[in-house]
C-alpha cells in the first residue's frame, strides 16, 4: 500500500534543504504517513549534515543546539562539539534546526488518532512549543514570506516543492546562515463531497494546519503574517472545539512509539506491518463513517496515478 509521500532534498549553494511533499491522504493513512514524515524529516536532515548514525545519538547536535537555547551563537556551539562528531560536512544552522523542530511539532499536532481520544496535556505542550518558536521567529524577523502558489483548493497535479533561501546582505556579511526552510506542503483533495459532519470537521481541521503552512509562504508583512499564524493555530483549536466539547484532542493524538522504528520504515516494511493497524482503522471507520471511507478509496487510486507523474529522482 503506497503511502503517497515523497522525500526530496535539494542542495542549493551551500545550503542543504529538506523538503517534504505530503500528498493528499485519506485520514486513515494520516497516522502512518505523518509518523514517517516526522522521522524522515529529522533523519534526512541529519543524514545530510553529519553522516549516518542510528539510535538516540541520531540527533546529538540538534539536542545540543536546542538545549543551549542560544540565538545566533550556533558557531560557538559547533566548535565545542565538532570534535566529538566525525565527518561533519555541513552543520545545520540554529534557524534550520529551529525550523525542523517547528515542522516536527506541527506534524505531531496533526496526528489524528482515530480510535482513542488523544492526550490533551501533550497537545497543549506541543502547541505551546510551536507558539514559542513562532514568537521567536517573528522577533528575529526570520519569518520569511514567498509568493504562495496555491492557497485555494490544492490540486495534486500542482505539487510544488518550495525552497526558500533568503539571505539578506546583512546576514551574509555577518556570516550567518539564514534558514533555508525545510517545511512541508500539505495538499489534499477537497474535491470529494463530504457529507458527514465528522469528515467535514476533520477536513477543515486538517485544512487549518495547511493554512498555517500556507501563511509561511505569503508575501505579507511580518505582523500580518504573525496574525495569520496565530489565527491558523487558533483555527485548529476552534474548529475542533466546534465539533465537540473536547475536540481539541481530535486533532492531537498519542504517538505510537513503534512507528519510529526508522529501519522498518525505510526498508518499506512499514507498509506491511503498519498497514494492519491502518486496515483496522479502515474497517472501523467504514462502520461509522462511510463517507470518509469512500473518500479513502478514491484517494488511493488517484494517489497511485499522481505519484507516477510526480516522482523525481
Amino acid at each position: 500500500m503506497f503511502l503517497g509521500m515523497m522525500l526530496t532534498s535539494y542542495r542549493i549553494e551551500k545550503q542543504n534543504c529538506l523538503v517534504l511533499h505530503l500528498l493528499s491522504l485519506p485520514d486513515i493513512l494520516l497516522p502512518c504517513a505523518c509518523q514517517v514524515v516526522l522521522s524522515l524529516l529529522l533523519h534526512g536532515l541529519l543524514l545530510r549534515s553529519m553522516g549516518e548514525e542510528e539510535g538516540l545519538h541520531q540527533t546529538p547536535f540538534l539536542d545540543t543546539m536546542f538545549v543551549r537555547g542560544l540565538k545566533r551563537k550556533c558557531f560557538d556551539g559547533e566548535e565545542d562539539i565538532e570534535g566529538t562528531l566525525a565527518g561533519i560536512k555541513a552543520i545545520p544552522s540554529y534557524n534550520l534546526q529551529r525550523q525542523s523542530l517547528l515542522d516536527m511539532s506541527l506534524v505531531k499536532l496533526q496526528l489524528c488518532h482515530m480510535l482513542v481520544e488523544p492526550n490533551l496535556c501533550r497537545s497543549v505542550l506541543i502547541a505551546n512549543t510551536v507558539r514559542q518558536i513562532q514568537e521567536e521567529m517573528t522577533q528575529d524577523g526570520t519569518w520569511q514570506m514567498i509568493n504562495t502558489q496555491s492557497t485555494g483548493q490544492a490540486s495534486l497535479d500542482r505539487l510544488v516543492s518550495t525552497d526558500i533561501l533568503c539571505r539578506s546582505s546583512r546576514d551574509q556579511a555577518e556570516g550567518k546562515h539564514v534558514p533555508a526552510y525545510g517545511t512541508f506542503n500539505k495538499d489534499f483533495e477537497n474535491d470529494q463531497a463530504q457529507d458527514s459532519s465528522d469528515t467535514m470537521s476533520t477536513a477543515s481541521a486538517v485544512q487549518a494546519p495547511r493554512n498555517l503552512q500556507s501563511s509561511v509562504w505569503e508575501m505579507e508583512n511580518p505582523q500580518e503574517n504573525k496574525g495569520n499564524f496565530q489565527k491558523s493555530l487558533d483555527q485548529i483549536f476552534e474548529t475542533l472545539e466546534n465539533k465537540s466539547p473536547n475536540s481539541v484532542e481530535d486533532l492531537f493524538s498519542e504517538v505510537d512509539n513503534s512507528y519510529y522504528d526508522l529501519d522498518t520504515m525505510l526498508t518499506g516494511m512499514m507498509s506491511n506491518t503498519k498497514m494492519g493497524h491502518c486496515d483496522s482503522l479502515e474497517t472501523f471507520s467504514s462502520s461509522t463513517n462511510t463517507a470518509s471511507n469512500s473518500n479513502c478509496k478514491s484517494d488511493l487510486n488517484d494517489l497511485d496515478h499522481i505519484v507516477e507523474i510526480l516522482v523525481e529522482s
Binding site: 540527533t59 539536542d63 496535556c121
Partner: protein, 455 residues
C-alpha cells in the same frame, strides 16, 4: 504518623545505607508483551499488607502479604495473589466516535473500617468503588432450597431446621459498590481520598471534582481552569492530591511546572489558590523544551504533611508547603538526558509521566527512570542510588547492585552509556510500603518487589 519499623536492619542506625535485595517478580517472562498486561498503577494499602496493581487491560490484581508461619519461615514478606478482577471495560463514546480506554489510571485504597477492603479505581472517565471481601464460611441446611440451590417444593418441607455455618475454602470476592460516572469531560489523571474518609477528589486535565463516597449521582466542581475560549488553553492540570491531615486542603500541579494549594473553606470554587508554588526559571538553561520538561507529572504529600514532592521530567523537588518561592530540595534523576531532549521529543519519551513516592518516615524518596532503572534519594545524607529491575538480578534474596550511567566519554566497567539505554523500558510507577522498607516497582508488564536486606 507512620512509624518506621526497620526490618532487622543495622541496629536501628539511620545513617547506614539501605541495601535492597530481590524479593519477588510478578508477571510473564515473555519477550512479547501484550499491551493489556502493561501495569499502569501500583499502590499499597494503609497497612502494607495489600498491594494493588492496575493494568492497561482494565484489570486489578491485588497481592496479599503472607503472614509469618512456622511452617514456612522464609516466605514471610512474600506477596501472593489475593484477588483479580476486571475493573473497567473498554467503552465507546458514540457522540464523539471515540473509544474510552479501560486502562486503570489510578488506584487508591480506603482506610479499612471493617472486615472488607475498599479501593477506588479509575480509568479516563469513570471511577469505581470496589469492595473486596473474604468468604470462608457458608451456610448449610436451608429449609427452602437444596444444597445445590434449587428451590424446594413447600409441601416437601416436613420439618424446620436452623441453617449452620460450615467452613469452606477461602474465597475472595470483589464487587463494585459504587460507580461515579459522567462527571469528567477530559481524561482523569488523579484521584485522592480525603482524610475525612468520606470524600475524595478526582482531577482531569481541566477540572477537579469533589465526591462523597456514598453519592454517585452528584459531584461538586471545585477547580475549573478551562478557558472560555479553548484557543487560549495553555495549561492543564496534571495531578492533584488531598493533604494527609487537613481535610480542607489539597494541591494540584500543572503542565507549566506550578503547584497550587487550595483551601476549600475559602470558597466553593477554588480557582483562587491559597498558595502558589513555582521555582523561578534558570535563564541560562532555557530552551524550547524548558516548558515541556518542567511539566509536573506527579505530586505527593509527605506522610507528615509538611512537605510535598513533585516530579518533572528530569528532577524531583521537595517543597516545604510553607515556602512558595522555591523547593527546599532538588534531586536530579537523569540529568544526562538534558542533552538528548530533542530526540526524546521526537519519540515522545519527553511526555512520559513518571511517578514518585515517599518512604514511611519521609526520609527517602523514590522515582523511576529509563532502562528499568529506578532511583532512591535519601534526604538526610544526601545520598542517591540507582538500581535496576531486571530478570538477571532476580535471584531470591540477591542483593541489588547499584548501577551507574556513564556521562563522560570514558566508560568504566559495569557502567552504561546514555546511548545504550533502552527507552522502551521505563519505570513510571513505584510504591513504597507505608511502614517497612519494601518497594514495588512496575517495569512494563512485570512487578518487582524488593525488600531491605535482612541480616
Amino acid at each position: 504518623m507512620a512509624v518506621v519499623a526497620r526490618a532487622g536492619g543495622d541496629g536501628g542506625g539511620s545513617s547506614s545505607e539501605v541495601q535492597w535485595c530481590f524479593l519477588q517478580v510478578k508477571g510473564a517472562i515473555d519477550e512479547d508483551v501484550a499491551e493489556a498486561d502493561i501495569i499502569s498503577t501500583v499502590e499499597f494499602n494503609y497497612t502494607g499488607d495489600l498491594l494493588a496493581t492496575g493494568d492497561k487491560g482494565g484489570r486489578v490484581v491485588i497481592f496479599q502479604r503472607e503472614q509469618e508461619t512456622k511452617s514456612r519461615p522464609l516466605s514471610r514478606g512474600e506477596y501472593n495473589v489475593y484477588s483479580t478482577f476486571q475493573s473497567h471495560e473498554p467503552e465507546f463514546d458514540y457522540l464523539k466516535s471515540l473509544e474510552i480506554e479501560e486502562k486503570i489510571n489510578k488506584i487508591r485504597w480506603l482506610p479499612q473500617q471493617n472486615a472488607a477492603h475498599f479501593l477506588l479505581s479509575t480509568n479516563d472517565k469513570t471511577i469505581k468503588l470496589w469492595k473486596i471481601s473474604e468468604r470462608d464460611k457458608r451456610a448449610e441446611g436451608y429449609n427452602l432450597k437444596d444444597e445445590d440451590g434449587r428451590l424446594r417444593e413447600p409441601f416437601r418441607v416436613t420439618e424446620l431446621r436452623v441453617p449452620t455455618l460450615k467452613p469452606m475454602d477461602l474465597m475472595v470476592e470483589a464487587s463494585p459498590r459504587r460507580t461515579f460516572a459522567n462527571a469528567h469531560t477530559y481524561h482523569i489523571n488523579s484521584i485522592s481520598v480525603n482524610s475525612d474518609y468520606a470524600t475524595y477528589l478526582s482531577a482531569d486535565d481541566l477540572r477537579i471534582n469533589l465526591w462523597h463516597l456514598e453519592v454517585t449521582n452528584r459531584s461538586f466542581n471545585i477547580v475549573d481552569i478551562k478557558p472560555a475560549n479553548m484557543e487560549e488553553l495553555t495549561e492543564v492540570i496534571t495531578a492533584a492530591e488531598f493533604h494527609p491531615h487537613h481535610c480542607n486542603v489539597f494541591v494540584y500541579s500543572s503542565s507549566k511546572g506550578t503547584i497550587r494549594l487550595c483551601d476549600m473553606r475559602s470558597a466553593a470554587l477554588c480557582d483562587q489558590h491559597s498558595k502558589f508554588f513555582e521555582e523561578p526559571e534558570d535563564p541560562s538553561s532555557r530552551s524550547f523544551f524548558s516548558e515541556i520538561i518542567s511539566s509536573i507529572s506527579d505530586v505527593k504529600f509527605s506522610h507528615s504533611g509538611r512537605y510535598m514532592m513533585t516530579r518533572d521530567y528530569l528532577s524531583v523537588k521537595v517543597w516545604d508547603i510553607n515556602m512558595e518561592n522555591r523547593p527546599v530540595e532538588t534531586y536530579q534523576v537523569h540529568e544526562y538526558l538534558r542533552s538528548k531532549l530533542c530526540s526524546l521529543y521526537e519519540n515522545d519519551c519527553i511526555f512520559d509521566k513518571f511517578e514518585c513516592c515517599w518512604n514511611g518516615s519521609d526520609s527517602t524518596i523514590m522515582t523511576g527512570s529509563y532502562n528499568n532503572f529506578f532511583r532512591t534519594f535519601e534526604r538526610n545524607m544526601p545520598r542517591d542510588t540507582t538500581l535496576e529491575a531486571s530478570r538477571e538480578s532476580s535471584k531470591p534474596r540477591a542483593i541489588l547492585k547499584p548501577r551507574k550511567v556513564c556521562t563522560t566519554g570514558k566508560r568504566k566497567k559495569d557502567e552504561i552509556t546514555v546511548d545504550s539505554l533502552d527507552f522502551n523500558k521505563k519505570i513510571l510507577h513505584t510504591a513504597w510500603h507505608p511502614m517497612e522498607n519494601i518497594i514495588a516497582v512496575a517495569a512494563t508488564n512485570n512487578l518487582y518487589l524488593f525488600q531491605e536486606k535482612v541480616n
